[in-house]
Symmetry: C2
Subunit: 455 residues, 2 copies
């Protein structure tokens, strides 16, 4: 019988005869005795295969088998309680299914993450990226599971949109033409790639109460940083009848659920990344899982930053004032130095936030929250939405946002709109946080950044 | 206490005092006694609220409450074993949270699906579309669950791609310019929206054995049919070490898992759609769930169609010959009249199929399958992939496909590529099949079709 699906999960008895198909990760021998390390793709951990000249008929052929070759091994599953790995396979027959070329680019040595980005079609075969993309898959499922268990309806908001109110000039155009005659284009108008599914999700929340999106979003932002990509995935829940506090609880619960899921399903991967990429990873995740996230108002945060400067703390930007847009260094100071844990910053000045956020009674701030996390900065941005039709129209006027394309969205307020709140979480930011990878390009299968469209 | 999350799931005791927030679906009264039907968004079924002049303080106000208004009801949960609905709420207090405008477009009468498409931001508040989008959400989760349980890794293949080999001129261009100077564009080259994640998924299958994509894909096809949209979601599993038979089993298992999940979680919705949209729906799903899908070779299918024409069957296209591309009428004949169940058509002529499909030993056909289902036609297209580097390069040359952008993909064959198979399933086609809706625009939240980009 062929054994697949995570050998380490199997309760195979000592001395059972099994068959395994997999790819060679290493191969060494001393002329009489050889060791193959193989991975069958179904789990993160490798399997050691022992092959002996007297036990298999093609020892010389196997001794020459190159890395990444596909092979089939029949053998005796053998418990090895005193060795490093808990079991090994004693080969009785090995068949080469497809011999890899000599020039396989991932020969056994360390490669830089930069180099591996150039072979993104192969890098998932390395331990580091194998771990990262297994965690990505698990985290995605954990998110779906979290919302599904709470009866949320998953909605696929449109990718192509005619509404770039939120895009602020950073949207990609979608066209079938090579000029700007958009009225003769596929949709008879200018179309662009979505920057957020929130507005559409709000509509669906009015029918289903609790909804979420989980799909790709786009920014044509021409900046080469380790935290920005032109294409990334967002999770955007929206809950009718809920306020800012409710969705902060929802966000905290979601992040903890993802961490718990990874602890339960990807401990090998997390341990590997802790040993090889980010020594603090497991400790940090454990701490976040166990902590109650802090809450600090924007106004209090400004006071804390002013006090820090007064006490001699040097920011790159030391010009702190109420109304400023906080930079990552300020955000990190607040969650890393002051609160020492994930921190919701709430009640921002209305002029630095989006038109749809609910204005607080002070008429100066809005019911918005950003979740700041140690090592990353902003992870989540959320708000309670303005429910008053006239107030939101006035905000659009104030901010010079054309309302013609948004009328359907504003109209939602006319038909029984009692509170609604939601947040957006950049999936790749979360993945950087739970893998310890420091470049967003390394948590995306085939990343898209300025001047970079390989594959 | 506020009660949410599917009242019908709650085991609430008779005469319990509860509180419910929801939207008004209907409101009638005789001056002393009134009935509100409300829905709180958390389940498909509505709740009837009885309000009496002597029991609440604001009877006149409530009697005038308009459809879609948001209200809060305190009342006594009362079992009604002899009535149509199993329970009702006897109001003790009702508060109007937000009164809807008089011009709410969904007044209580039947609306055409065409009209409702023009108010896609509101149509999920109707019973039919509420059912459809609940089923869409459930089906998406069922698909993730199906693959997750079998240890598949979920991979987000890129949406923006520089490789339009598969696009065949039907790709949308992604640009930040209004001309065709693509070498000065955001990515320094021409970029387009993906038509399939398969090629990238194949790369990941070489690391994880079993992977799947589930994301949006695009066609700039200028055809207005009930089955085509410019933006739709695809599920594309890819399994290394597997052949055509394996992935046909996988496809059948997936469809059955979705049906089972809907039976378990969305019986109210399926019953409603059976009563109001497609009388055959529940029977058909039950039959599909219980049947073993048929298999017919393309060559045998041509013989069956020739025999049908000979026996007097009239197709719009009666010109049947080996090598033709079958039309929907032929596909439907084969699964509806001949096999009377979902049917995998296999081993197509190589010249009508894609370059990456494995050529069979006859050198005339490829190891491809299309799943044809009664009432719909093609639902799934899959194949075993050509594993031989030289053969796939030759096929590209034969079909005049430029290999420069594809080199990374072809190279996968060089590094231990022993079999790989996969399929693509159009999510919306599946949804039409499991909801009975006959227009693809009615299973997409905000559909995109030629000359149509509302919202």
């Amino acid at each position: 019988m062929e054994i697949v699906f995570d050998l380490y999960q199997y309760k195979i008895k000592d001395q059972t005869k099994i068959e395994v198909l997999g790819w060679v990760r290493s191969n060494r021998n001393n002329g009489k005795l050889g060791f193959l390390v193989i991975n069958d793709g179904t789990c993160f951990d490798d399997l050691q295969v022992v092959y002996k000249k007297e036990a298999i008929s093609n020892f010389e052929e196997i001794a020459r088998v190159r890395l990444s070759s596909a092979i089939k091994i029949s053998g005796i599953f053998t418990l090895t309680p005193t060795a490093k790995q808990p079991f090994e396979l004693q080969a009785t027959a090995i068949e080469v299914l497809d011999l890899a070329d000599e020039n396989y680019p991932l020969q056994k040595k360390e490669h830089s993450h930069e180099y591996l980005r150039e072979i993104a079609h192969l890098r998932a075969k390395t331990k580091t990226f194998n771990a990262v993309f297994r965690i990505r898959s698990s985290a995605a499922f954990a998110i779906h599971e979290y919302f599904n268990r709470q009866n949320f309806v998953y909605v696929n908001t449109p990718i192509i949109t005619g509404n770039d109110a939120e895009g602020a000039g950073e949207s990609f155009i979608v066209t079938v033409r090579d000029d700007d005659k958009y009225h003769e284009d596929f949709f008879d108008k200018k179309a662009s790639l979505t920057v957020s599914g929130q507005l559409h999700a709000e509509g669906f929340a009015q029918a289903f109460r609790s909804v979420y999106t989980f799909g790709p979003t786009f920014r044509a932002e021409n900046s080469n940083t380790t935290r920005h990509a032109a294409e990334f995935w967002m999770i955007e829940p929206e809950v009718a009848f809920s306020d800012l506090n409710d969705i902060m609880k929802l966000a905290q619960g979601m992040i903890k659920h993802v961490i718990k899921y990874l602890f339960d399903h990807n401990h090998s991967e997390l341990s590997f990344l802790t040993a090889n990429v980010d020594a603090e990873l497991l400790t940090r995740l454990q701490n976040v899982y166990e902590s109650e996230f802090a809450q600090t108002s924007y106004t209090a945060a400004i006071d804390l930053l002013l006090a820090a400067v007064k006490n001699g703390h040097q920011f790159v930007n030391n010009d702190i004032f109420w109304g400023m847009d906080l930079q990552t260094e300020h955000e990190r100071y607040l969650c890393e130095v002051v609160n020492k844990k994930p921190t919701f910053l709430i009640d921002y000045p209305k002029y630095i936030k989006a038109f749809y956020m609910k204005i607080n009674d002070d008429n100066k701030t809005v019911a918005a929250c950003d979740l700041l996390v140690p090592g990353i900065g902003e992870l989540v941005g959320g708000s309670q939405r303005e429910n008053d039709y006239q107030k939101i129209v006035n905000r659009c006027l104030e901010m010079k946002i054309p309302t013609s394309d948004l009328q359907w969205y504003l109209d939602l307020r006319k038909y029984g709109y009692y509170k609604s709140s939601g947040f957006g979480l950049g999936f790749e930011r979360l993945l950087m946080y739970v893998t310890g990878m420091t470049n967003i390009r390394d948590v995306i299968a085939f990343p898209r950044t300025p001047k970079n469209l390989l594959f």
